[in-house]
Amino acid sequence: MPARKENDERTNLLQGTLDLLILRTLVLGQQHGQGIARLIQQQSEDVFLVDHGSLYLALQRLETQDWISAKWGVSDNNRKARFYTLTAKGRRQLTDKTAQWWRIAGAMTRILGREESGV
């Protein structure tokens, strides 16, 4: 199945950021998948359009790594939904990853900024 390979590559590209965004979103409290997608979209001011398929695979991955936990509950408008909560391990991971992100972002900005000024 050659198609699968390309899919995997795309996920890999997004993986780091999507995981980080999910963890960040859950800091505010427990949330279900649809809510997470919606929140990310809103907070990024519609820059990020979350692919729902990738979101659920990412949630599964995070759950396997014990960074988040899940249990079924009832949503605000009385619908059954699976709610995700950040675990202690996930919180540590978020701190690490955030720091790492700032380092990368800072470096990227410095490089890209200098290039810009050079033009």
Binding site: H32, Q34, G53, Y56, E63
Partner: protein, 855 residues
């Protein structure tokens, strides 16, 4: 924790996605963004199935998942084609079973370490080359103590020899063998008794009569009771105290050792052994090589010592070399080659079986091409298809392996029951863990080997193209069939060479007539004068001869075994070494054995103790010592202390040193002029000799009840025992070759049958266009026979190169024996022709109309 994946059910994920879609739709509805909120939610989400699939694959080890699926598929395939599956399973089971059975023997006899402490450091020490020396490389006590004190390569050395004795039992006494050993024998081997203790150095020093029993004697005499310890054991006239029992597996140094006694306990110690000169070599020596010293180094040092001793005592005429032979080599010696030959043969058989199965699977593969094309079209990768084929074969071969294990068990029991008795440790062969592991390995090996090409081919299936047998598949199948024939030829020639040897061996002129002959060993034991001995045997001969059905009877000091004397002095010449064999005879020996008298006369009543000492010699002796002269009336003696013997007769040669041995010079002396208390009474019967045994036994017992008799057997049977090992090898290799012949016939038949089936349409068209059936038939035949011939030629080249390795197992047949090679090749061609006949006939009978309609 990668090995423990948290599993979440697919339904749970589905429910979550459902809830997501509902929530999304709710939100869209609330904000009034869409006229069809449900549809919009679904569109935004994308491919639900893809997510479910990805989640499934993420949660599982797909390799095992595929394996399980292939496994179920394989079971379905087996059910669908029970005939083919049965053939594959049976073929492989036969191969695996036979290989495992032979392996169990090889493992027990050759690979299992000997049951002693660090057996690799144990080595036998021989003076000279044990194979060519008269005394089997034995050493004198004086030389041994010099070896022991002068060497630096050995931790310790010990001596032993065997002594026969009569065990006093409730019935008539039984003759047995004891081993006379020093106390360090036990520590050197590092063995423990299973009951009681072994004797100490003090007991050895004092020469105390203590005995360690074999497990068998313990069971037989004391019914395995612990009360045996402290009981008396009467050996000859001496009473020993039983102090220990060895475990059943301990049979060193002789396989029939029943008692171990201190070397000093036997009366010979004071009367003979300690007075023996340096030249009197009657002891076997065993040593334990020091850690870090190689056998080569020990050998070099021992050679130096032997050389020095020979130079120091020239009057003893000792060999100036000593051989250090690792005990493991010594123990299995001559069986090594034949067992490895059997193993190689049976492995070849397994390869042929695998090749056959590979061929069958290829045929099935081409039948299943539509299925494979479909699978590929649905997205199965090449590896997945190949994996599927391997798994299917693995399932078949696992069933075959289990069946093979059962076969191996049966075969192992059969070999133990019927195999040659003198293969050491054969009785220990069993289907144990190592054998099972070996079987499992063979099972995997056969699966991989048999599915190698089919798997490769299945991976090459094109999705779009028409499903024809590809040229490469054809080539592989041709190659497999040719290879099968090459291996079959190799096996057939091995069998041919062994059979031819065996036939030659059977055709050897023994120089006597073994049929209707019975031999019985009678031991008068010590305590009779020479005249009493002679009188006893003469009476025995007379009484047996009087029995109805007995044609004649006689006695000889050893019918089928004899050892040469140390030296001989022909009158008028210097003494020479070695001398001829010497045997005492009583009664009409030559008439009874059926040996021809060539010249002179046989012994008569007049050749008594006080008349002229006389001898009858065989042709070889006459030729050796008196070439081109009449030996009658010539004189010789064995040593300066024995009287001169006058030759009165010359007889034909008799093969007594084994059928495959050389005839040695031989002198017969009348029993009345010599002294011997143990003789073989031989009886020529007019009907079945085995049936006579009980009445002969009764007659002998009537003379003196306390006389020990043992080894009553027909001479035919004893000769059969001599050739038992050859018969065993020949029979096994021949049956392997027969199965190989059968398998390769099936292989080539299957190939052609399939080819004809595939080409029905083509042949139909050609027939419609006027091709004669004979031509079609000839073409198919040619195709099959060409493959067979190519295989046979390759096999011949292979056989010519490897047959030399087995030359030691052949008798009077050269390793490139044209008869064996010719017969094998012709037989294989004939079988190939017969196997090709049916498919080619089928091709010639194809009805063009039917064939074309099939299209």
């Amino acid at each position: 924790m990668f090995w423990r994946k948290k599993k979440r059910s697919l339904d749970d994920l589905k429910a979550e996605i459902e809830s997501h879609l509902a929530l999304e739709a709710d939100q869209l509805r609330d904000t009034g963004q869409s006229s069809d909120p449900d549809g919009a939610a679904r569109r935004t989400f994308g491919n639900v199935t893809a997510v479910e699939e990805a989640s499934y694959e993420f949660q599982r080890w797909m390799f095992f998942d595929h394996l399980m699926r292939d496994f179920r598929q394989a079971l379905r395939q087996m059910k669908q084609r029970p005939g083919l599956s049965a053939i594959v399973i049976l073929t492989l089971a036969l191969g695996i079973g036979a290989t495992s059975a032979i392996f169990s023997v090889v493992q027990a006899v050759l690979l299992n370490p000997l049951p002693y402490k660090e057996p690799r450091r144990l080595a036998m020490l021989f003076s000279g080359d044990p194979a060519s020396e008269l005394h089997e490389g034995r050493v004198s006590l004086l030389n041994f103590s010099d070896w022991k004190s002068q060497n630096r390569s050995f931790e310790d050395m010990t001596v032993f020899n065997g002594q026969t004795f009569l065990l006093r039992t409730k019935g008539s006494p039984e003759r047995m063998r004891s081993a006379r050993v020093p106390a360090n024998f036990w520590t050197l081997l590092g063995v423990q008794p299973s009951l009681g203790r072994v004797f100490t150095a003090e007991e050895e020093k004092r020469g105390e009569r203590v005995a360690v029993l074999s497990y068998r004697l313990w069971q037989q005499q004391f019914a395995g009771s612990e009360a045996a310890l402290g009981a008396d054991l009467v050996m000859d006239d001496r009473t020993y105290l039983v102090i220990g029992v060895m475990p059943p597996s301990f049979r060193f140094p002789f396989s029939d050792t029943q008692v171990w006694e201190p070397i000093t306990a036997h009366p010979y110690w004071t009367t003979r052994d300690r007075k023996n000169p340096r030249a009197e070599a009657v002891w076997f020596a065993l040593g334990r090589v020091k850690r870090g010293v190689t056998v080569g180094q020990a050998q070099a040092e021992m050679n130096g010592i032997a050389h020095r001793l020979a130079a120091e005592y020239p009057e003893s005429q000792m060999t100036a070399t000593a051989a250090v032979v690792p005990l493991e080599t010594q123990a299995t010696g001559r069986f090594r080659l034949s067992l490895w030959l059997l193993f190689a043969s049976v492995f070849q058989l397994l390869l042929i079986a695998c090749t056959n199965v590979a061929g069958l699977l290829l045929v099935r593969g081409s039948v299943r091409q539509r299925e494979f094309a479909m699978r590929r079209a649905l997205g199965a990768g090449r590896l997945r298809l190949a994996g599927q084929v391997v798994t299917e074969t693995l399932v078949l071969s696992t069933v075959a392996g289990l069946l093979g294990l059962l076969l191996a068990w049966g075969a192992c029991q059969t070999v133990k029951a019927w195999g040659p008795a003198d293969i050491p440790r054969l009785a220990e062969a069993s289907i144990n863990w190592p054998v099972m592991l070996f079987t499992a390995a063979m099972t995997c090996f056969t699966a991989l080997f048999a599915s190698l090409w089919p798997a490769f081919e299945s991976g090459r299936t094109q999705v779009g193209s028409r499903q024809w047998v590809s040229v490469s598949t054809r080539r592989v199948r041709d190659f497999l069939v040719a290879g099968e024939f090459a291996m079959a030829l190799l096996l057939l020639t091995s069998a041919g060479l062994l059979i031819h040897s065996f036939v030659r061996l059977r055709a050897v002129d023994l120089g006597f007539q073994p049929d209707h002959l019975l031999s019985m060993r009678i031991d008068l034991h010590v305590g009779r004068t020479t005249d009493q001995q002679a009188a006893y045997f003469e009476e025995a001969i007379d009484r047996v001869k009087a029995l109805p059905g007995v044609r004649s009877a006689a006695a000889i000091s050893g019918f089928l075994r004899t050892d040469p004397e140390d030296s001989v002095e022909i009158e008028g010449r210097l003494p020479q070494k070695p001398g001829p064999c010497e045997d005492l005879i009583a009664g009409p020996y030559f008439e009874t054995a059926g040996i021809q008298l060539k010249k002179g006369r046989v012994f008569s009543e007049q050749d008594g103790r006080h008349s002229l000492p006389v001898a009858i010699i065989n042709e070889t002796m006459a030729r050796t010592y008196w070439p081109n002269t009449d030996p009658i009336g010539k004189r010789f003696r064995f040593s300066s202390s024995t009287p001169w013997l006058t030759v009165v007769g010359e007889t034909g040669d008799m093969r007594r040193q084994g059928i495959d041995g050389q005839v040695a010079p031989q002198a017969f002396l009348p029993h009345r002029q010599g002294s011997e208390n143990m003789m073989d009474v031989i009886v020529r019967a007019s009907s079945d000799p085995a049936a006579m045994a009980p009445s002969i036994r009764k007659t002998i017992e009537a003379i003196d009840r306390h006389v020990a008799k043992f080894k009553i057997a027909t001479v035919d049977r004893e000769l059969g025992d001599q050739t038992a090992e050859r018969r065993f090898d020949t029979l096994l290799v021949s049956s392997f070759a027969f199965v190989a012949l059968f398998l390769s016939a099936i292989g080539i038949y299957g190939l052609l049958q399939h080819l004809v089936g595939q080409r029905t349409a083509e042949i139909g068209v050609r027939m419609a266009l006027g091709a004669r059936p004979q031509i079609v038939m000839a073409q198919v035949l040619r195709e099959g026979l060409t493959l067979a011939l190519v295989g046979i030629c390759v096999g011949l080249i292979g056989a010519l190169t490897v047959s030399r390795l087995a030359s030691k197992l052949l008798y009077a047949v050269s390793p490139t024996d044209p008869i064996a090679f010719g017969v094998s090749a012709v037989l294989l061609v004939a079988v190939a022709g017969a196997a090709c006949w049916a498919p080619s006939r089928r091709a010639s009978r194809i009805d063009p109309m039917v064939a074309l309609r099939q299209e």
